[in-house]
């Protein structure tokens, strides 16, 4: 089964239709997604700014991380759950949405950044805690993280708009390629 066929099947399943057509459920889930985003992004920003040496310089970076991380993780889990439900409500359209695809790509990059940071950079950050000034690697990780998450929020917000949707033709070939629209009848 191709992804396109799978998400088409998912879109026709009764729970997906119920969620999509519900009067309040979809709006409430979307609100939870946005509010938790604020908590998640807020704690990420405060930590990244600390890595960049732009705030709370007197507090060791490791301590800022220790205290913020539980909040960050809890918010992230809620975002993944609410985000999955939002996707489940509109699977096919989301799958073919150019901003959704870009957002997923950025999320992969963000995950990679987190992994590299925690395995390579963070141990050194802890070692230099007493010095106060952040290392170049720490600054790079903080700046990269900020840039990626800002990109995630931008592309996430834009998913709501249908500028590049398959049913809005004609589109440039590159758009239809990136959204897999060429594979559906509306791409003709």
């Amino acid at each position: 089964m191709s992804p396109l066929a799978f998400f088409g099947w998912l879109a026709d399943s009764s729970w997906s239709v119920d969620l999509h057509e519900s009067q309040y459920a979809y709006s409430i889930i979307e609100s939870i997604h946005v509010w938790t985003m604020a908590v998640f992004f807020g704690s990420v920003v405060m930590f990244d700014l600390r890595l960049l040496g732009l705030t709370l310089r007197k507090v060791p970076a490791s301590e800022v991380l220790d205290r913020l991380l539980p909040l960050t993780i809890a918010a992230f889990v809620i975002m993944v759950i609410s985000g999955t439900l939002l996707f489940y409500a509109i699977p096919l359209r989301s799958y073919q949405n150019i901003f959704f695809r870009f957002k997923m790509l950025l999320l992969l990059l963000a995950g990679l950044n987190v992994w590299i940071f925690h395995s390579r950079v963070y141990p050194k950050v802890v070692g230099r805690d007493a010095e106060g000034a952040p290392s170049r690697a720490a600054k790079l990780a903080g700046g990269l993280s900020l840039a990626i998450w800002i990109g995630v929020i931008f592309s996430g917000r834009m998913i709501a708009y249908n500028w590049f949707d398959c049913d809005r033709q004609p589109q440039p070939d590159i758009v239809n390629f990136l959204t897999s629209c060429a594979a559906t009848e509306s791409g003709q």
Binding site: S31, V34, R67, L68
Partner: protein, 158 residues
């Protein structure tokens, strides 16, 4: 006295009209508004959670609050700078929107509370002697800011 004429005047401003006529402007400005929301939440929560005794307990409240305040002010500036043009572009809809009025009321209270009571509580180390005061301050702060976030999100649904 009705505020409707004022809202109608806002609607007709060149800024409002330009945003309405453009496909991209509203979403892009709103994305900046969302970024500001995140930073505001971070700058508010890092202090409020400390007041609640959840995180960063080793640090004095005053030190955290002083570190977070420039970012709170900066993000609030971004929120106003992006929120005002958004409002101009759909001010008449806002006039008839309950969430809009909830948001503006909460915002006014949140800003007043943050820069009077909360600032005093965090600056003067009143909290170490009276933790209950710190907790109340944090809960009121979180509650008011959540009112702003609730109203903001639901303007879009109405």
């Amino acid at each position: 006295m009705s505020l409707l004429p004022f809202f109608q005047w806002c609607y007709q401003t060149p800024i409002g009209e330009t945003i309405r006529d453009s496909t991209w402007l509203f979403p892009v400005i709103e994305a900046f508004h969302l970024l500001g929301l995140g930073v505001t939440a971070g700058a508010v929560l890092i202090v409020d959670l400390r007041l609640l005794g959840v995180g960063l307990r080793k640090q004095p409240v005053a030190q955290l609050a002083a570190g977070a305040e420039p970012w709170l002010l900066g993000s609030l500036t971004l929120m106003f700078a992006s929120g005002f043009p958004l409002f101009l572009s759909e001010s008449i809809k806002c006039y008839y929107s309950l969430p809009f009025w909830v948001k503006m009321t909460s915002l006014l209270l949140a800003v007043l509370f943050t820069f009077t009571v909360r600032r005093r509580v965090t600056r003067t180390e009143l909290t170490s002697a009276r933790p209950l005061l710190g907790r109340f301050t944090a809960l009121i702060s979180i509650g008011l800011w959540f009112g702003v976030a609730w109203g903001g999100r639901w303007i879009g649904f109405s």
